[in-house]
């Protein structure tokens, strides 16, 4: 699908049309699922065309989920959270999707946390604008009418600006940590092994369920070393995980 076609898809809202048609066919699971598959493919194309808005991520995840591709849905939502970490709808959808995955005890990831998930970049920018505004007003007043409150609001502005920068720095650290340990999603039930080969013993007694989220640590020879939520480390075949 070339870029012009994708652009046309976006303009025409073709995936949305398929999604709506699927909604109308909801009474017939088979027909609705086919339409949701069509919508999911459309959203994938839109996402690949670098339209990374939270709405596209949300709809993409939902289309995959309703098409029966739960692992793809989780991957799509994670891809959306990577771009919009503080989006509450995506957080809610991720938790809903995790409810579907039959996680063994202790392996279900905790809800997404951290400053990035609480405060959006635009929220910080808005707060910074207010702080810079206070500083500007205070300094301008100091150089003009020199009222008594000038220094006070400059102080408040500077403190606020430092707080904004601190949160932004923390968010940057969290993003770097995420980039070093990216989330991967299992597309099928897979046994976690102690080494990068089928000859190695299973790391756990039971296989990891489809849709299970793991964090990638390392790759070697077609295998991925991953860390589970409980801290267990093992190896999975590359073909069994979605990289997004």
């Amino acid at each position: 699908m070339n870029s012009a076609t994708v652009a046309l898809l976006i303009v025409m809202g073709q995936p949305d049309v398929s999604f709506r048609e699927a909604q109308e066919l909801r009474a017939d699971a088979g027909a609705a699922r086919l339409k949701f598959i069509e919508a999911a493919k459309g959203y994938d194309a839109v996402w690949q065309a670098r339209n990374h808005s939270p709405a596209v991520a949300t709809n993409r995840g939902r289309a995959h989920a309703l098409a029966g591709d739960w692992a793809g849905a989780i991957a799509a939502v994670h891809a959306g959270l990577r771009e919009s970490p503080s989006d509450t709808t995506l957080h809610h959808d991720l938790e809903t999707l995790r409810d579907v995955v039959p996680y063994p005890a202790g392996l279900r990831p905790p809800p997404v946390s951290g400053w990035r998930s609480r405060v959006s970049g635009w929220d910080l920018f808005g707060l910074a604008t207010v702080c810079v505004g206070l500083i500007t007003i205070g300094i301008a007043n100091r150089f003009t009418t020199r009222d008594g409150w000038a220094l006070s609001i400059v102080t408040v502005g500077v403190i606020g600006l430092f707080a904004v920068l601190a949160v932004k720095w923390q968010g940057h650290r969290e993003a770097r940590w995420e980039a070093e340990r990216p989330v991967r999603v299992l597309i099928r039930e897979t046994t976690l092994r102690k080494g990068n080969g089928d000859s190695y013993e299973p790391r756990l007694e039971w296989p990891l369920p489809r849709g299970c989220e793991v964090r990638e640590l390392f790759r070697r020879g077609g295998w991925v070393q991953v860390e589970l939520t409980g801290g267990a480390v093992g190896w999975l075949p590359e073909a069994s995980v979605i990289t997004f």
């Binding site: 909801r26 009474a27 939902r62």
Partner: protein, 330 residues
């Protein structure tokens, strides 16, 4: 009149050219029982029989229409339908063979279509079996029989359409069936350009504010300049608040004295008007200002210690004096 004559002539010609109509009743009972003979008697030409089936391709289990077309029979109204249901080659191929009812053709019909409803037994590509079709020909008072064939026609039986079970509704989290519409909300946060724009914008606004203020209030600019000096600023603030003091004259004189100490380097030890005037002369303070200062301080002392009710020294007067000395006022 002439047209009517031509019409009568044409009718007479047709009547003369038409041969005597042949009928199967003219044949002997033995002839009528010949195998593959379905009462067809040929006229001037040979009889032709052809198969057709519709649709050519259809899923297994679906009925089709099989048509046998007989052309050039002299007795179309007497033709009988071949009993396909009794023929083994058709029985092998079709599970259902039913002759469709049709109106009796008129004796003048050149083509007779005999229709059957058939249902193929199995999937695959097949051919309608060739049909032997015997017909009679009367020649010179004798009956001769000839054989024609309805040639095989291919047709296809595809896989049966499996009727789906009753459709079930698609299950899923209710919220997932909603389409998110706020697509113009962009991901991530502001980039470097936004942050630089914020800082640059704030700087521009601040500088514009200051420049505009200075342009609008040139005196205020000078006032701002003198207020940059701590001694001047403190003296002016004290003088503006002096009216609230219990002894405004003393406060005014003290503010003036503090100003002279902080701003012009008058020693702290200089307390009396004379001492202050002497100290001012030592630093080459303008003589007229020294005189005014000394007079104001003496008047203040007179009010404080001499009991004179009303002094000419007022906070406003001293403020104006300081602003004049500092160049704010002309």
């Amino acid at each position: 009149m002439r047209a009517s004559s031509f019409a009568l002539l044409a009718v007479a010609s047709i009547t003369v050219a038409q041969p005597a109509r042949l009928s199967v009743a003219d044949l002997s009972p033995l002839d009528r029982q010949k195998e593959h003979f379905y009462s067809a008697i040929s006229g001037t030409g040979s009889i032709a029989a052809t198969w057709s089936i519709s649709p050519l391709s259809a899923p297994s289990g679906r009925d089709r229409t099989l048509t046998l077309t007989i052309s050039n029979a002299a007795n179309p109204h007497e033709l009988t339908a071949p009993p396909l249901g009794e023929m083994p080659e058709f029985q092998r191929l079709f599970s259902v063979i039913t002759l469709n009812p049709s109106p009796k053709p008129s004796p003048d019909t050149l083509r007779v279509e005999i229709r059957y409803t058939v249902r193929p037994r199995i999937e695959g590509q097949f051919q309608i079996p060739e049909l032997k079709y015997r017909f009679a020909r009367r020649s010179g008072g004798q009956t001769q029989f000839q054989m024609t064939y309805a040639e095989a026609v291919p047709f296809t039986v595809t896989k049966p359409v499996v009727p789906s079970a009753d459709p079930r509704p698609l299950d899923g989290p209710p919220a997932f069936f909603g389409l998110r519409e706020d697509r113009f909300m962009q991901s991530g946060g502001p980039g470097c350009v936004w942050w630089l724009g914020l800082i640059g914008g704030a700087g521009v606004i601040g500088l514009t504010w200051i420049a505009g203020w200075r342009w609008l209030y040139p005196d205020a600019v000078r006032l701002f300049r003198i207020r940059r000096n701590r001694a001047v600023r403190m003296a002016l603030d004290r003088l503006r608040a002096a009216h609230r003091h219990s002894d405004p004259a003393a406060e005014t004189a003290d503010s003036l004295r503090t100003y002279l100490v902080g701003r012009h380097g008058v020693p702290h030890a200089a307390r009396t008007p004379h001492e202050i005037a002497t100290a001012l002369r030592a630093i080459d303070f303008p003589e007229d200002r020294i005189a005014v200062t000394e007079q104001l301080l003496r008047e203040a002392d007179a009010v404080r210690f001499g009991g004179r009710g009303q002094a000419s020294i007022t906070p406003g007067k001293v403020v104006a004096l300081i602003e004049q000395w500092e160049g704010v006022r002309g």
